[in-house]
Structure formats: structure tokens, C-alpha cells
Subunit: 224 residues, 2 copies
């Protein structure tokens, strides 16, 4: 299946995880194409039995479409894990490379990469990696920094973003998957979170505190 198809299916999958209003417009915005193109593609994918399409209704992946999305996501996250482990590159660069490589990777190679890495369950962003059957076994106990408690210490479990500026900020301040941070203050009214990382105090606004996910220090979720 083509890159355009895989990306469309992936975008539908990801959107459906977040909202329950997955219509062509949102996907178009996500992929940077026109609404017309998205509607067009949706119709074509319905013919290929990748999603259910009815005029003006929500887009819903079929079982087949779901499998395809999970397979692409698996490859993306495996590539991120491999590149992160092997090379000194920014998470943002790694994400960009994985975005391309994910479409040109055989199942065989994906399995080899997974095996090499010890079949990891999370990528460097903390996102779960579906297994070869598309199954995500991990129960995610993490929550956003904005909901963390003052005075407590946490472990970063996800950096949920594609934004270069965010990753640059993270890299600069030691905000990295697996690292330990302490929440020194929650400014509820102003929606800011103050944290301590590597003995540096940083103030995060809502944009950032809601895309950084953490786990309790003693969490069972730290299996790598």
C-alpha cells in the first residue's frame, strides 16, 4: 500500500484515540492536504476495506485498517527506538527519519529490529510499541505533569509531541524519557508547573506540562 494510504490510515487511527470526531477535515489538517483530498482518499480507502465511510459521518477504521495503522506505528516506534539507541540525534530528527523509514520497512526487518532491541514495549517518547500482531499489552499508568503532586518525584514516561522546539527545549534541560524530575510547585491559577531537573528549576506553562507524561517513582511501568 502506498505512503499516502498508510499515512491516512495512521492519522485516522491516532485521531480516533484522542477525539470522537474523526472527519476528513481533521485528517486533512493533520496531513497538510486539502479537505477535498481527504474526502477523496476516504472514499478510496472504503473501497479497499480499510475504513467505513458514509457521507458527513465519522471515519472509522475497519479491522484491516486498524491492523495497517498499528503495523505502521509499530515500525515508526521501532525505528525511533533503534536510532535513539544507536545515534546521537535529537528526538525531533529521529522522529522525522522514522516518519519516512516506517513506510519502507518489511515486516521481516521490523521483527529483526524488535528482536535486536529486546522486544521493547516503549519507544524513546514513552509511546507503546505494538507487537508483531498489532497488540499493545502495556497498561499505561502515566499522567501529565500538570496533574502531578507538589513535592513528589516522578519518572518521565512520555514526551507526546512532534514539535522541534519542544524537543530542543527538552534536550536542553535534561527532560528525557526515563529521567527523574521533582515537581516543586503547581501554580493552579496560572496553569504553570515548576519542576526540578538536574538541580535546575524550570517553570513550564500549560502547553508543555500537558504533553509531558510521568509515572510515580515506584511505578511497575518502568520495565526497560
Amino acid at each position: 500500500m502506498s505512503v499516502a494510504v498508510e499515512n491516512f490510515v495512521k492519522a485516522v487511527y491516532k485521531n480516533a484515540k484522542r477525539t470522537n470526531d474523526t472527519k476528513p477535515g481533521i485528517i486533512a489538517k493533520e496531513l497538510g492536504i486539502s479537505n477535498a483530498a481527504a474526502t477523496d482518499m476516504a472514499k478510496k480507502l472504503a473501497v479497499k476495506d480499510l475504513l467505513h465511510y458514509e457521507k458527513y459521518q465519522e471515519l472509522k477504521l475497519t479491522v484491516k485498517g486498524n491492523q495497517m495503522a498499528l503495523n505502521v506505528i509499530r515500525k515508526h516506534r521501532l525505528w525511533e527506538s533503534l536510532l535513539f539507541k544507536m545515534f546521537d540525534m535529537s528526538l525531533h530528527d529521529i522522529h522525522r527519519e522514522a516518519e519516512l523509514l516506517e513506510h519502507q520497512t518489511s515486516d521481516l526487518l521490523a521483527n529483526k529490529i524488535s528482536e535486536y532491541l529486546g522486544n521493547p514495549k516503549f519507544d524513546p517518547h514513552g509511546d507503546p510499541i505494538p507487537d508483531k500482531n498489532g497488540i499493545i499489552t502495556t497498561t499505561d499508568t502515566s499522567f501529565t505533569l500538570s496533574k502531578a503532586n507538589e513535592g513528589k518525584t516522578y519518572i518521565i514516561s512520555r514526551l507526546m509531541s512532534d514539535d522541534k522546539e519542544f524537543f530542543d527545549f527538552c534536550a536542553q534541560h535534561g527532560l528525557k524519557y526515563g529521567n527523574t524530575i521533582t515537581v516543586s510547585k503547581q501554580f493552579i491559577k496560572n496553569k504553570m508547573t515548576q519542576i526540578v531537573v538536574n538541580n535546575n528549576t524550570i517553570l513550564l506553562n500549560e502547553d508543555f506540562s500537558t504533553i509531558i507524561y510521568v509515572n510515580e517513582n515506584e511505578s511497575k511501568n518502568v520495565q526497560h
Copy 2:
């Protein structure tokens, strides 16, 4: 530049290395497209200043086209080197993966891979890897097995093929880049070469003895 363009330029480059009759037909055969499509593409690439095109004449890459070809070949051979090192996969499978990955790899990532591998000068087939400026410094002293001397021992330096059957044969008999083999007999009249690998005697016909390249045992070319 698109995958089709990169593959076309690469095919022209490779053909020009072998023959001096690089016309659309040969490229078409190489890429598995029609002659018409090859002529068409040649015209388009001329507009992009990637090759010189004149009706019925040979296709000749411009400096820009040459650079593009070398860049793609570099990425291909780096991927082959990396996959060969990391994973237990057949050379044929590795070749197929590299054929796809080569088009989706930034220069940055290519450099990272090269660095990680210690900037190798040869890939697992023994083919030279252009450096980041497209320069191939290696002087190749290797020759085909068909031209080797009876009784002498050699080191395999290139397996020049894309053919799965050939690679399966190689894998089965220990014919691998860097391995040592002895030529026990040359059947000049019948164009066969008898070799000894791992204490096994194998008879190779012309098809195989002309795509297996070797170096003298004491060669200076064994720099990895």
C-alpha cells in the same frame, strides 16, 4: 527528488560503469519499465539538469546527476553494511531493504550510520562506499574468480549480484565477503572453476565465477 528519479539516475550511473551504450532501452530493462517511459524520464531529467539528452544518443549524467547517483549508492551501501552487521539476514534480503531505505535517508542519518560503522570503504558485497562528498578513494585490485590461478588462496572481496539464488548458494557454501578460498582447478575449456571453501570442494560455472571477485591473500586491500 522522487524515488523514480533517484532510481533512474542510479541506473544510468551503474550502466555507464559497465558499458558505453547507455540508452533508454537498457535503463528501461534495468528498472522494469517500458522504453517509452525511460525516454520520457530522460527528457524530464535533462530539464532538471541531471543528465544530457539528445535524441537517439547516449544518456550521460551531468555533474549534478553524478552526485545524486553517488549519494543514493552511498546510502544503499551504508544500509547494507549496517543491516549486515546488526541482523542475521540474507544478503539478498538486505539488498532489498536497502533498495527501499536508500531513498528515505537524510544525509545526516547517512553520516551517522557511516560514523557508527567507522566510515567503512566497502559494503558486505565488497562494493566501495562513496564518502559524503561522493568520492570513492579505494583502488580496487580485485579480479574475478574465473581469472584466478590454480593452487592459490584468495580472499573474497565482492559478490557482484542482486540475484537471490546466487546469494542463497553463497550463504550455503560459506562464500562470504572476507572469507578465504582456494582455487583447486581451472577448467579452461569448460569455463568452470573448482574451489575449496571450509574443506568443501565446489565447482562453479562461468555465471558464478565471473561475479565472485577476490584479492590476493596478502593484498593491501583488506582494510577492514
